[in-house]
């Protein structure tokens, strides 16, 4: 039967025997192509984002310095409310949980060495340097990043961006600058909230574990030098900038003919890229701060 000449048979024999080299070659080929195109798109994206950042910076400085070119204060406030205020409860919730998780996990080990009150130090350092900015930024990837990308993408599909352009209104000045500033400011402000909530929650947990609140408070303030607080806020600012920049770039990259599918893609991409960018930036920061001895 296998030698049959009928086309149906020959088709079946082919499909029954998976041709390994073909599949492998194809897989390698696909992977190679994927890597190439991914590499290319990452470069063009980085290029585009740098360009966007450059333009946004120039419009911002002009807006601050040149009288006629002011930044729309109403637009900025509207964006800050949109980006930040809705995220406050979530940030508080997450930091309440983390402020509890860390002491509970550390307590048994530290107690063995009779150092249980050092929970305060760990909580303060981890919170202010790392988890406050990081968690805030991750939450804002969804709240700010996704909503900005979706909004700008929708505007692009509705010809609104084009309408702005041909009305002589620059989309970067008009749309990107207020959103970028709003994400930066709100990431910093929410980080401050996140820091405070985490310390408070940690203190509450520690007290429940039998640690003296006065000692906890004292150790926290000792652990918290200016540099820890400041590096955390610098991080927050950069995270906010990354979120705003990626979201604006991907949102504005949606082409009118891509329709709602394009908007959906841009939104998803924004969340993923934002998280990747934030973690990468965090690693770079940590390395730099570490090698400059800012962690002593």
């Amino acid at each position: 039967m296998k030698d049959s000449d009928s086309p149906m048979e020959s088709l079946r024999t082919v499909s029954e025997k998976p041709t390994e080299p073909g599949v492998l070659a194809r897989a390698v080929g696909t992977l190679g192509q994927f890597t190439l195109s991914a590499g290319r798109s990452i470069f063009s994206m980085l290029g585009g984002m740098s360009l966007l950042l450059g333009k946004a910076t120039s419009y911002t400085t002009k807006g601050l310095l040149v009288p006629g070119q002011r930044i729309g204060r109403n637009a900025l406030i509207a964006q800050m409310v949109r980006v930040g205020v809705r995220a406050v409860p979530i940030v508080i919730l997450i930091q309440l949980a983390i402020g509890m998780i860390l002491p509970l996990q550390m307590f048994p080990k530290l107690d063995e060495f009779g150092q249980s009150e050092q929970i305060a130090t760990i909580n303060a350092i981890a919170g202010f340097r790392e988890l406050g900015p990081l968690m805030t930024a991750v939450v804002l990837c969804g709240f700010a990043g996704a909503s900005i990308a979706a909004e700008l993408g929708t505007m692009a599909t509705a010809e609104e961006i084009e309408a702005l352009q041909v009305s002589g209104l620059n989309p970067v000045r008009f749309l990107v600058v207020p959103r970028l500033l709003a994400t930066i400011i709100m990431t910093i402000m929410l980080t401050v909230i996140a820091d405070i909530v985490m310390v408070a929650s940690g203190m509450f947990t520690a007290v429940k574990l039998g640690i003296d609140p006065d000692i906890y408070f004292q150790l926290t303030t000792e652990a918290l030098d200016l540099s820890g607080f400041a590096t955390g806020l610098v991080k927050a600012a950069v995270f906010g900038l990354l979120i705003g920049l990626i979201a604006c770039f991907l949102g504005l990259s949606v082409k009118p003919w891509q329709g709602s599918a394009g908007v959906g893609q841009a939104t998803t991409k924004t969340v993923v890229y934002c998280i990747v960018a934030i973690i990468t930036a965090d690693a770079v920061f940590t390395l730099v701060f570490y090698s400059y001895g800012l962690f002593d």
């Binding site: 909004e151 929708t154 505007m155 609104e160 084009e162 309408a163 352009q165 041909v166 009305s167 002589g168």
Partner: protein, 287 residues
Amino acid sequence: MAAETKKKPVIEIRQMVKSFGSQRVLDGINLQVYPGEIMVIIGGSGCGKSTLLRHLIGSLIPDEGSVKLFGQDITTMSENELNEVRKRLGILFQSGALFNSLTVGENVALLLQEHTNLDEPTIDIMVKIKLELVGLRRHSDKMPAQLSGGMKKRAGLARAIALDPQILFYDEPSAGLDPVTSAQVDQLIIDLTRKLRVTSVVVTHEMDSAFTIADRMCMLDRGRILKIGSRQEFEALRDSEPDKLQSQQDKLVRQFLRGDAHGPITDRKLTRDYEDDLLMVSLKHQT
């Protein structure tokens, strides 16, 4: 309009070519529009009318050829120079393209706030006047999403005329409007042109509206201009006997103007490439 031809054109397109990928959408367009006239561009869906308009407002740059507005070539301009020219243009997009985060009134006010030094009270009055012109004064505080399709179009028109432009571009102004509103928009286009000496370029599918407003007409087909002429010439062509027409082009235009279901336009769609296409499908599925 014999007198018009002696004036210098406000819009002058020369040998314009534009391709998207392998598809040549505009293929050697030559077109002049003179001050104070209404030029109506007609043509089948997808023939490149909106694309042509996009080149006239500088949001697309042609692959070849030049586009001159007010005697200046906009294809070689810097963004800043282009923006200066754009302040003298008004554009009504096919979809309206209102800014959805602003109310109708704010949409109209935005350009006045950004491009003029007028104070707020003056701007408020201007906005009221423009909205009254399109019959939307009472809807000033609505968001675009709360408007019907026709209202969006009229709001877009109010925004387009906010800065008292010298050239107005309309992409299908009366599509989706009821007959009365549509006639009002037609009248508005005529009034603006006659009273304010605005030059208008109107893309439309509505033949009634085209014949009502046009001074001159131009028919686009497959990226080329089939015919340019005065309204009277087009009317004569529409009412002519098909046997008396010499050129194939005139026959095509005639069918389009009359909206006949049968004729040269429909005939050429059933050409061999349809059969080839079907053949390709069956071949593809055999292997």
